[in-house]
């Protein structure tokens, strides 16, 4: 047992933001290690400011630390300056609570929220002093485990991560702690044995126990090596969020981080059915937290942390049953000093949502964000983001009439069936939004944020060939030309980074070596534009004899074995394929929370049910409220012209 703090502290005067490395968050526990306790190091493979607010890591740390036989600490990726100092001084990856070396833990567990962090995962394993490949590790080395949304296609990291956890972690983390604890108390003899044991836990995938065979460039089969290893690993799902009121002690960091506020998860899962959205597909069904529990968690959390802002988090918080009452309740009944801000990330696009936003944001009405995602009703039916233009304009009208001055719109480009007129529809919507705003104020402005679409596993678009770098650049160019001189400001995500994300998103086991090469060439922090170079990825693909276009821009056929075929989010492949065909036919699909089941497979196969307090859809918008979805076609909008009216 060793404390690296004196050696860490000696480096701090020479690095940016030294407080990233001190821990000391309010609410953090003083972990007690011991020979009988399975020790977990929970790592977020990005900077402290990005990683600290991650609720998953905090929830798992609390659950593990509540156990008598387990202990958990946290770690984050040191920024490049600190990593350089650490490597020069021989300081390994450490926990922030007790500054203990990573190798003194039994498990190093990573949260995988985005594919571009994969090179950081390898770098951190290496910085810990652990061989990066599974096959090179000895029993003395910690187990390397990963969870989070990206594990629904674990294959790119299959040769680097010993075990993946698919789905909600609240229950399975304890089952893993049981197995690891027994392994530790038995003297950590054989890695093979503990991995075989872990593979018997539902939701745990141990890639070394599966053989992948290939048929030319394609995967032929993914087969378990032993009869007791499951052919398909099903995700874990917590049936009742009300049983898991975590985090109970949300950490309050001493430096500014993203989402620096109290966060209370109001529901998990989303059945809006947006076809591009992996989160919505893999987290079904909808499970609402009981309303009284939400209120209690907000009140207790604010009192304990001293925060003056709370976010009610979910994939679409305006859909929470009785959200208006909850918000009204929270907005008035706060004692103490000053006012409390409430924020709803992922605001739905309709006037009802803006009404709620007005209720909770009495002051500082600066900017509101909406995500129509596509520029035409036709394309929004393809992606099943069923927002009518009139919903958007009435939302914007409501926002400006209630004092907001800036509107931000999120769009994707490179979506299936997207034609130039759909892309240009983004500019048209933005110009119209500015016009609506200008009826209220001369200063009305609109920011348009455009991201390149990356098809994700376990979605109806998993078969779609992603747009290449040049095509995305061309589409962004169209928008730039169209919006030149307009009051709408365009921002876009780098198409080169979108391409690299595409390699990792639907990559197979062979892509692992590409990630390793990118890492060895110095490619860490690939989510950060200052560190990202696409050529590193392309050179690595070439060196491994892999064709980037085959992985990224190629349309898949129905009978192709997808690299994640042995992982199940509960969605029937037939359902996903039928939904893909419906997309191509421009048919929308209503939200199954309030309409009859169309058997995606999750509830029926896993014996789950939606946990939704309200039997009817929220008022005020057309999303999920029974608009005519039977056919495609532009919905006529009477009150605005096609072209923006530009004052001369």
């Amino acid at each position: 047992m060793s404390d690296l703090w004196p050696r860490v502290e000696a480096l701090l005067a020479r690095v940016e933001k030294p407080a990233r490395y001190i821990g000391m968050e309010q609410g953090s526990l003083a972990p007690v290690h011991g020979p009988g306790r399975a020790a977990f190091l929970l790592v977020y493979p990005d900077t402290y400011e990005i990683g600290l607010p991650n609720q998953g890591l905090q929830i798992l740390a609390e659950i593990l630390n509540e156990r008598e036989d387990a202990v958990a600490e946290r770690a984050y990726a040191p920024w490049v300056d600190m990593e350089r100092e650490m490597r020069a001084a021989g300081v390994p990856l450490f926990s922030v609570e007790t500054h203990r070396p990573a190798t003194e833990f039994d498990v190093i567990a990573f949260n995988l929220s985005a594919e571009l962090v994969y090179t950081n995962v390898l770098n951190l394993v290496d910085l810990a002093g652990v061989p990066v490949r599974n096959e090179d590790r000895a029993p003395a080395h910690p187990l390397v485990v990963a969870g989070g949304h990206c594990t629904y296609n674990p294959e790119p990291l299959a040769e680097y991560v010993d075990a993946f956890v698919i789905g909600d972690g609240e229950e399975v983390v304890s089952e893993i702690a049981d197995v690891v604890g027994a392994w530790k108390r038995g003297g950590r003899a054989s890695r093979e044995a503990v991995l075989r044991d872990l593979a018997t836990i539902p939701g745990v995938y141990v890639p070394s126990l599966y053989e992948v065979s290939y048929d030319g460039p394609a995967v032929r089969a993914i087969t378990p090596r032993y009869p007791d290893v499951p052919a398909t690993v099903d995700k874990r799902t917590v049936a009742d969020l009300g049983e898991w009121p975590y985090p109970k002690r949300q950490l309050v960091p001493l430096i500014e981080v993203v989402h620096d506020r109290l966060n209370v998860e109001v529901f998990r899962g989303c059945t809006r059915g947006c076809r591009f959205c992996q989160a919505g597909m893999i987290t079904r069904p909808v499970r609402e937290r009981p309303r009284e529990q939400v209120t209690r968690m907000v009140r207790d959390g604010l009192r304990r942390t001293g925060y003056d802002e709370v976010a009610l988090t979910s994939l679409s918080s305006a859909d929470f049953s009785g959200i208006a009452d909850v918000v009204a309740d929270l907005a008035c009944g706060q004692e103490g000093t000053g006012s409390v801000g409430i924020s709803l990330p992922s605001l739905r696009v309709d006037a009802f949502s803006v009404g709620i936003a007005a209720e909770i944001q009495k002051v500082r009405r600066t900017g509101l964000t909406f995500a129509p995602e596509a520029g035409s009703w036709r394309l929004r039916q393809v992606i099943n983001k069923l927002i009518l233009e009139e919903d958007l304009y009435s939302a914007v009208d409501a926002a400006y009439s209630q004092g907001w001055r800036r509107v931000k719109l999120y769009f994707l480009t490179g979506l299936p069936t997207e034609m130039d007129e759909d892309t240009l529809g983004i500019a048209r919507l933005a110009s119209n939004v500015v016009e609506v705003g200008r009826r209220h104020t001369k200063q009305a402005s609109c920011t348009v944020s455009v991201g390149g679409y990356v098809p994700k596993p376990h979605t109806p678009f998993q078969w779609f060939g992603q747009n290449g770098v040049d095509e995305l650049r061309r589409k962004i160019g169209l928008l730039r030309d169209e919006l030149r001189g307009s009051r709408a400001r365009l921002k876009w995500h780098d198409p080169a980074a979108t391409f690299a994300e595409g390699i990792a998103s639907r990559g197979d086991r062979r892509v692992g070596r590409v990630i390793e090469r990118v890492w060895r060439a110095g490619g860490t922090f690939q989510e950060w534009s200052e560190s990202f170079v696409l050529d590193r990825w392309l050179e690595a693909m070439h060196a491994e004899g892999l064709d980037p276009e085959w992985y990224v821009t190629r349309h898949r056929e129905r009978d192709e074995v997808l690299p994640w075929e042995h992982i199940s989010a509960g969605l029937h492949p037939d359902f996903l394929w039928a939904d893909w065909q419906a997309a191509l036919a421009e048919h929308g699909l209503p939200d199954c929370r309030w309409t009859p089941c169309y058997d995606c497979g999750v509830c029926t196969d896993y014996a789950l049910e939606h946990v939704v307090a309200s039997p009817v859809a929220p008022a005020g918008g057309s999303q999920g409220t029974g608009q005519d979805l039977s056919a495609g076609g532009e919905v006529p909008v009477a009150f605005l012209g096609r072209r923006p009216v530009v004052a001369s």
């Binding site: 490395y21 942390t305 001293g306 000093t337």
Partner: protein, 240 residues
């Protein structure tokens, strides 16, 4: 604090241990959260975006410790000021502890202008032999000027540190590992210097430093900020 209604109060607090690596603004945010946890009835400014009336003293450079940091705040309603240190310390991060609280006169000058000198203890990076350190300090104090290159608003400027240094004394104290400790008294007006800059001007390496006192000097006397501009207890008794 000037032009206020309510009860002006001055707090003294420490910054010890690992929290020395958080910045001045981080300390301010931690204080504001602690005020809310302790449910202090702070007075707020008027206007479109009301904020609590809190003003901090001299910023402590990130990485240094302190026994004596100060802030002034205004309470909307009176309360037991003597209980404040315990109430607030319980809500603050480990290492930040409120060690004193007093009521201020209504129009007490702001800390940033009122404080004119500070005392530091600075550890010289070992190995450094006490005799050699003493000689370096004496040489530095004897110099007519101690030019130092500093960055101001992105530009490099040369400034003379000698007028900032009121005194520099090599103490008898040594750290367990033999590090020599120097006590510095530095002027803060019109601007001060960091202890590591002063030690560098002496040709020494500073390992760590701790601000031990701050001084308000007026009419030939000098007082600790908790003793200056405070409301005498007798008046308090009469007023209540």
């Amino acid at each position: 604090m000037k032009g206020t209604t309510g009860v002006p109060v001055r707090l003294r607090f420490t910054k010890h241990g690992k929290v020395r690596w958080i910045g001045h603004r981080d300390v301010a945010r931690a204080m504001e959260r602690a005020f809310r946890v302790a449910a202090l009835p702070l007075a707020f400014t008027e206007g479109f975006s009301p904020h609590p009336k809190v003003s901090f003293g001299l910023a402590l450079p990130t990485g240094h410790e302190s026994d004596a940091e100060y802030l002034d705040l205004v309470l909307a309603t009176d309360l037991d000021v003597e209980a404040l240190p315990e109430r607030l310390s319980a809500a603050l991060p480990v290492g930040i502890e409120v060690t004193g609280a007093v009521r201020l006169e209504d129009r007490a000058p702001a800390l940033q202008e009122a404080v004119t000198a500070v005392t530091w203890t600075a550890e010289v990076e070992p190995p450094a032999e006490p005799g050699a350190v003493r000689a370096a300090v004496e040489r530095g104090l004897a110099a007519a000027s101690l030019p130092a290159v500093r960055r101001r608003k992105g530009r490099e400027v040369t400034e003379d540190l000698r007028p900032v240094i009121r005194s520099a004394t090599v103490t008898e104290v040594t750290e367990p590992d033999g590090a020599v400790v120097i006590e510095l008294e530095l002027a803060t007006q019109p601007r001060s210097a960091r202890p590591e800059e002063v030690l560098a001007a002496f040709g020494l390496d500073c390992r760590r430093a701790r601000r031990t006192r701050q001084w308000i000097e007026r009419d030939g006397a000098r007082q600790e900020p908790l003793d200056a501009d405070t409301r005498p207890r007798a008046i308090e008794a009469r007023a209540s």
